[in-house]
C-alpha cells in the first residue's frame, strides 16, 4: 500500500491544482479541456454533484444535469489533467452522501435546496 501512495505522490507532484471544496448536493461547473487533433478548447459541464467516490489520486466525482429534459451524468476523475477549473455555484442542503434518488426525480422535486450560510454583517 505504501508503494501505491508513493507512486501517486511521484505522479501528482507537478499537479498543483486547487479546486474549491465541494460535496454531494453542490452545483458546480466543470471546465473540461477537449483536444480535437491539435486544437484544444474548453467545454463546461454544469450540474449537481451526486457522488464523490474513492480516495487519493484515483478519486472521482459524478455530476448530473438535465439537458433538454434528459438526465445526463458525467464522471470526472478528480486529478484529471484535462480539468481546467471547477467553479462552485451553489452548495446544496442534502442528507445523503450519494444522491442516487435524483435519478427518479424530475422537475420541481429534483431541485436541491440551497444551504444557507451564516454571513457576517458589518456593524453600522
Amino acid at each position: 500500500m505504501d508503494a501505491i501512495v508513493f507512486v501517486h505522490q511521484q505522479l501528482n507532484a507537478n499537479a498543483s491544482k486547487s479546486y474549491p471544496t465541494f460535496k454531494a448536493g453542490d452545483n458546480i461547473t466543470v471546465n473540461y479541456k477537449i483536444i480535437e487533433g491539435v486544437k484544444e478548447r474548453i467545454q463546461s459541464f454544469k450540474g449537481d454533484v451526486i457522488k464523490r467516490q474513492g480516495t487519493g489520486a484515483t478519486q472521482t466525482f459524478t455530476v448530473r444535469k438535465i439537458s433538454d429534459g434528459i438526465g445526463v451524468e458525467r464522471i470526472f476523475p478528480y486529478y484529471s489533467p484535462n480539468i481546467d477549473s471547477i467553479v462552485l455555484n451553489k452548495s446544496g442542503r442534502v442528507r445523503r452522501a450519494k444522491l442516487y434518488y435524483q435519478r427518479e426525480r424530475s422537475g420541481k422535486s429534483a431541485r436541491i435546496q440551497e444551504k444557507k450560510r451564516a454571513v457576517q454583517v458589518k456593524a453600522k
Binding site: 508503494a3 501505491i4 508513493f6 476523475p77 484535462n82
Partner: protein, 205 residues
C-alpha cells in the same frame, strides 16, 4: 530474451501525457542476483539463473546456502531460469528494473488466484440451461449431456467438467511498461497481471 522476477504490489491508475487514464499494476521488480550462468558447453543449453527475495538462512537447505554463497549472496526465496537470455551478466551480478525502458512491450508470467472447486458455468463459460421454468427444477447451472449412450458409450478424454479452478501459471502478453522508478525498483505495467497482491511474477520480453 531478458527478464526479471518481481512482486505484485497492487493496482492503481495514472494519467498519461495525452491526459488518458490508464489502469496499471505496480510491481516491485528486482534487484535479482545471478546465481548461475549455464552454457551449452557445461549444461547443454544457455540460461541465466536469477534469484529474488530474502529467505531465512535457518530455513534454507545447506546445499542451497552453498549455492548462494558461490554467487556471493544471501539466501533467496525465489529462483528462476531465463533461457537464451540476452543480458550478459557474470555470477553474482545483480539485475535491476532498468533493463526495461518505458513504453516497451513485455509479458508477465504469474500464478492466477485460486478459485477452488467450481462448476462448468464459471470454469468453462458454459451458458447453463438458460431457463428457470419449463420443468428445470434445480439444474440451471448443470453441464447437460456429456456424451452419447450407445455410441461412443464412454466419456471422451478432456471433456470439460467441474473441478479445481485457478492457481494456474498464466502468461499475459503484450503489456506495456508505463513507468519505471529505478531507485525504488518499481515498474508500472499497463493492465492487470495474474495473481494476488504479493505474489511472485516474472516480467520478460
Amino acid at each position: 530474451m531478458k527478464g526479471i522476477i518481481g512482486k505484485k504490489i497492487g493496482m492503481t491508475s495514472i494519467f498519461e501525457a495525452n491526459g488518458k487514464q490508464t489502469a496499471c499494476t505496480i510491481i516491485e521488480a528486482g534487484p535479482c542476483v545471478v546465481t548461475q550462468v549455464k552454457t551449452v558447453d557445461s549444461d547443454g543449453y544457455d540460461a541465466l539463473q536469477i534469484a529474488f527475495g530474502e529467505a531465512k538462512a535457518k530455513n534454507t537447505p545447506k546445499a542451497q546456502i552453498h549455492h548462494f554463497n558461490a554467487a556471493n549472496t544471501t539466501p533467496k526465496s525465489v529462483v528462476k531460469e531465463l533461457r537464451n537470455c540476452s543480458i550478459t551478466k557474470q555470477l553474482g551480478e545483480s539485475i535491476t528494473c532498468d533493463i526495461f525502458a518505458e513504453g516497451e512491450k513485455v509479458s508477465v508470467i504469474g500464478t492466477t488466484k485460486g478459485k477452488g472447486f467450481q462448476g462448468v458455468v464459471k470454469r468453462h463459460g458454459f451458458s447453463g440451461v438458460g431457463e428457470a421454468t419449463h420443468g428445470q427444477h434445480d439444474r440451471q447451472r448443470a453441464p447437460g449431456s456429456i456424451g452419447g449412450s450407445s455410441y461412443p458409450s464412454r466419456v471422451f478424454k478432456g471433456m470439460r467438467m467441474a473441478g479445481r479452478m485457478g492457481g494456474d501459471s498464466v502468461k499475459v502478453k503484450a503489456l506495456r511498461v508505463v513507468k519505471i522508478f529505478p531507485e525504488q525498483n518499481y515498474i508500472l505495467i499497463s493492465g492487470s497481471v495474474p495473481g494476488h497482491n504479493g505474489s511472485i511474477v516474472l516480467i520478460q520480453n
